[in-house]
């Protein structure tokens, strides 16, 4: 009973360390997945200055980014690997008697590379399709599922705003983006086709967003600066004027989120390991009490020939088994706790072998460390005094 209470300290300590690390690793993993789903080393530029506030730049300067801006970024900025413009609009898609409202994206073929995306069936559209504004499209997984129910859409024709489009490819599954949007609920068409056939002339040549891929993670920040100054120059914005566009570093945002989670995990684990320490002190306490209570037993063992090392070994093993059993139960409870987190809070949790190994190793260390002093004390007893002890 008393041993069980003693172990509780270890159990709670190990359990909370495991849970915290599982939650932290899970959160980190989810963020990494999202990062991969957006595409790596990514910057976006979109029109309308975020800092505009009450200022109005005047009509005509609002939707400002053009296909030419995208092209200029691609060719003139150092550190930029590629850039693709995008126009989009929510429209209804019809196939047979099925219909589905989705986000239609008009873009160029290099967008797939920039977003680390690809097709799972058929082929992507090419530059030829953009140049001649062909009526072809690629369906996102969600759209494909909702219009074709598992049938192969490639080769079929869908209608968007009554314009027939040949389905030439189906995009791979991408999942949700960090804001929870389904990235597979989309249709990609060549940008020229979108501008001429779908979105009307008022949007001609203007783009909603430009996706930019930097050459490497280190190039992200210089590229961001270059793009900003290039666009300022192209849009004739003086040093005192507000920008009519915004450049955002998506990867950096995710990176900082990842770091915040990492810091939080470390913090929580540190707090949890304090309870490991408290558990260890509990074990030391119970072992000291046990040495006092069993003084007579120690005397008996010594009188029948136990050496100091035998006695020391016995008490260290006892402390060790207390902490090991506590550690094992703690790992089980930590696993259970992580599962509860996933089940009730919906947080992804991952228990790594490393965290189990660490928690277990730590409980062994605690057992040896806090078991050593009581064991030493027991082994130093004088056999006669120990035998006479009442």
């Amino acid at each position: 009973m008393r041993s069980a209470l003693t172990m509780l300290g270890m159990i709670i300590g190990v359990g909370s360390v495991i849970t915290m690390m599982a939650v932290g690793t899970g959160a980190g993993q989810k963020i990494s997945e999202q990062m991969a789903s957006i595409g790596s080393n990514l910057l976006i530029a979109f029109p309308g200055a975020a800092t505009a506030g009450g200022h109005s730049m005047g009509a005509g300067t609002q939707s400002t980014l053009t296909v030419e801006d995208s092209e200029a970024i691609r060719t003139e900025c150092s550190g930029v690997k590629d850039a693709a413009p995008l126009v989009n609009k929510a429209l209804q898609v019809v196939y047979g008697n099925q219909n589905w409202s989705t986000l239609v994206m008009g873009t160029t073929p290099n967008m797939l590379d920039i977003r680390d995306w690809g097709v799972s069936a058929g082929r992507p559209f090419g530059w030829e399709d953009v140049r001649s504004a062909t009526k072809v499209c690629m369906l996102g997984q969600t759209v494909a599922n909702n219009l074709f129910f598992g049938m192969n859409p490639v080769g079929q024709t869908v209608r968007i705003k009554n314009v027939p489009f040949a389905v030439i490819g189906v995009l791979k599954k991408k999942g949700q983006n960090p804001s929870g949007q389904d990235q597979d609920d989309t249709i990609y068409v060549p940008i020229t086709t979108a501008q001429k056939r779908l979105f009307g002339s008022q949007l001609y040549n203007l783009v909603s967003i430009i996706f930019i891929k930097a050459k490497s993670f280190e190039d992200l920040e210089p590229a961001e600066r270059d793009i900003t100054s290039l666009l300022q120059q192209r849009h004739h914005i003086g040093p005192k004027q507000d920008n009519d566009f915004t450049v955002r570093n998506l990867t950096a945002i995710i990176q900082s989120a990842e770091m915040a989670v990492g810091i939080l995990t470390t913090l929580l684990s540190t707090i949890a390991s304090v309870s490991l320490l408290v558990g260890g002190i509990g074990i030391m306490n119970i072992m000291l009490v046990s040495v006092t209570e069993r003084t007579r037993e120690i005397g008996i063992r010594m009188s029948v020939g136990a050496k100091t090392s035998d006695i020391r070994f016995q008490f260290i093993v006892e402390a060790l088994s207390l902490s090991l059993i506590g550690g094992a139960v703690g790992i089980a409870i930590g696993a259970g706790g992580s599962w509860l987190f996933t089940y009730f809070a919906g947080w992804p949790t991952i228990i790594t072998a490393w965290s189990i190994f660490m928690a277990f190793g730590f409980s062994v260390l605690v057992g040896i460390f806090f078991g050593f002093y009581p064991a030493y004390k027991a082994s130093r007893l004088n056999p006669i005094d120990a035998l006479r002890y009442e």
């Binding site: 010594m302 009188s303 029948v304 020939g305 050496k307 035998d310 056999p383 006669i384 035998l387």
Partner: protein, 228 residues
């Protein structure tokens, strides 16, 4: 040459203040196969003498040669080894380990001589049989009577085939009838197995079983008589 040769042994305790001389220049030789009683009132030094004899304590000065080996200057671990091979102890309070079966209690000394588990069990069962406790090996000490507990203690004392058995007031907690049985068991071990038996007691009835009585008073030997 005696099994136990003690010469000019002094044992001085140093509590606060004045030193206490528990043993004052004691010399004694005990031959192998003897059955010796050590008698004396409390405080006479007989218990201290037995502790030194049993290698639980070391003399302040003087020499103790056990079976040809000088043990008076040995360290803790060497003494522990001597105890495990040469000595078996039986105490007044039985000194069995609680919540541990009779069998495991008897196996205890062999735990420290590195014997295999099967061999340990076999020898422990044999020792329990020798003291007439067959069928009780699974019982814990609190499930046994005083006499039975003392028999377990005796089994523990003989299980390592130690040549010497030391008993400190072995019948102090037992009634007359059981005392008689225990003492007869000692006599049998002495006669049949040739064990050297040293009993510390203040009861003349107990001492009567032995063939030699050594009397202590104020840390000195005041008498040493042999029967027949």
């Amino acid at each position: 040459m005696g099994l136990v040769e003690i010469e000019n042994v002094n044992r001085i305790y140093m509590p606060e203040g004045e030193p206490v001389k528990a043993l004052d220049n004691v010399s004694l030789v005990i031959e192998s196969g003897e059955f010796v009683s050590i008698m004396g009132p409390s405080g006479s030094g007989k218990s201290t003498f037995m502790h030194i004899l049993g290698c639980l304590d070391t003399p302040t000065s003087g020499s103790y040669i056990l079976d040809g080996t000088p043990v008076s200057s040995m360290g803790h671990d060497q003494l522990a080894e001597i105890r495990s091979y040469k000595m078996g102890f039986v105490f007044q309070g039985f000194n069995l380990i609680p919540r541990t079966s009779a069998l495991e209690n008897v196996e205890l000394p062999m735990l420290y001589t590195g014997m295999g588990a099967a061999e340990r069990k076999r020898k422990a069962m044999e020792a329990l049989k020798a003291v007439g406790l067959e069928g009780r090996e699974k019982h814990n000490p609190n499930e046994l009577s005083g006499g039975q507990q003392q028999r377990v203690a005796i089994a523990r004392a003989i299980v390592n085939d130690a040549p010497i058995i030391m008993a400190d007031e072995p019948t102090g907690n037992l009634d007359t009838k059981t005392s008689k049985e225990i003492m007869e068991l000692f006599v049998r071990l002495n006669v049949e197995k040739g064990k050297t038996i040293i009993v510390v007691t203040h009861e003349p009835d107990v001492a009567a079983y032995s063939r030699r009585i050594v009397r202590f008073l104020d840390g000195r030997i005041t008498g040493d008589e042999r029967k027949r």
